[in-house]
Amino acid sequence: MKSVAGAEADSANAEIPGSGSGTFSVWGDVRLTADAFLRARVQGNVQAAKKLVLAPSAEVSGRVQGGDVCVQGKIEGGLEATGQVWIQAGATLRKQCVAQALRIEPGSDFRGELRVGVVRA
């Protein structure tokens, strides 16, 4: 198992690597300033400035923030997106989902507070 403490990526298309040769874990928060594809386990929060895809192998124990977010993996600490959110079959999302538009596919697992298209008071 490979692990690093915290991560930051700002290339044009960032990719936090995954489990090609084992599980890649990040202990701490991850900040992504470009479109990103996340395949790692993150013990912390993930903050993406633009589009974010969480692969089926991705697991985030904390909160995920982003623009448009596509969830195929697992988020334990809630998701807050400024754009659209897709929660695909096999994905798990807990605690909260805040978005401007949302699609939850059959076969996904969501449980928590849902706030879509509602501006926080």
């Binding site: 659209q84 989902c97 978005a99 401007q100 538009a101 949302l102 699609r103 939850i104 596919e105 059959p106 076969g107 996904s108 697992d109 969501f110 449980r111 928590g112 507070e113 849902l114 706030r115 879509v116 298209g117 509602v118």
Partner: protein
């Protein structure tokens, strides 16, 4: 007055013996071999089969016992073959105050000034434009148009709230699917299948359950929510 009956020559199909018979004969016995045979007209060789118009039928389930029977498509009423209950198959419209339970297999329309004051109304299709104190059950669909209110709950197939319309429900709503273009406010909203919220739609509920959810840009949903597992999906 005597009537001349014209004769025709017929051949026995067995021995080929010829004999004269009335031109309208249907059957006879051969005078040569004693064989009984029918005329070609009686045998139906030339008779064109005219199919009776098939009566179109539909399945009907009793609101009380649930027994299923077939009734003609045009039937206005029937009796349950299982429990004997009278089944009203037509449509009904409530334009004022209505008390008492309703159970019909057709369409129930509660007009803008209508108020259903009974405890339970069941109709295959319900169009709600006014108010209801009682529970509404619509196995096919409940269509909401205008500013409406149900003091108790509702259940059925499809819940459809049209743009600009509001449904305020005092108790839980249980439907198979939902298409929300207007506003839905209720304590619990449960959809066994897909729930779709259009660009003008809004759902505010204490608890929302669904199997599949789509909220288009502009649409709103707020509440504690839970996605339901697909039927037949393996349990963890």
């Amino acid at each position: 007055m005597s009537v001349i009956i014209s004769k025709i020559e017929v051949l026995c199909p067995e021995c080929g013996c010829a004999q004269l018979e009335s031109e309208n004969f249907l059957s006879t016995v051969c005078r040569g071999c004693g064989c009984y045979f029918k005329s070609s007209r009686a045998a139906g060789a030339r008779r064109r089969k005219v199919k009776r118009k098939a009566i179109q039928k539909r399945e009907l389930s009793c609101a009380d016992c649930g027994a299923v029977q077939e009734v003609a498509l045009e039937a206005q009423s029937s009796t349950c073959l299982s429990c004997g209950r009278h089944l009203e198959l037509g449509h009904r419209e409530i334009l004022g105050e209505h008390l008492g339970n309703i159970s019909l297999e057709g369409e129930l329309r509660i007009g803008p000034k209508g108020n259903y004051g009974g405890s339970r109304a069941r109709a295959a299709r319900i169009v709600l434009e006014g108010r209801s104190s009682g529970f509404l059950e619509a196995p096919e669909f409940l269509r909401v148009s205008g500013q409406t209110r149900i003091r108790s709950g509702a259940s059925g197939g499809l819940l459809e709230i049209q743009p600009g319309s509001v449904l305020e429900c005092g108790d839980r709503v249980d439907f198979v699917s939902g298409r929300i273009e207007g506003e839905l406010r209720c304590p619990v909203a449960n959809f066994d299948g897909p729930l779709s919220i259009g660009p003008t739609g809004s759902v505010v509920a204490g608890k929302i359950q669904f199997q599949e959810l789509t909220v288009e840009p502009g649409g709103k949903i707020q509440g504690w929510a839970e996605s339901r597992a697909q039927e037949g999906a393996p349990a963890d």
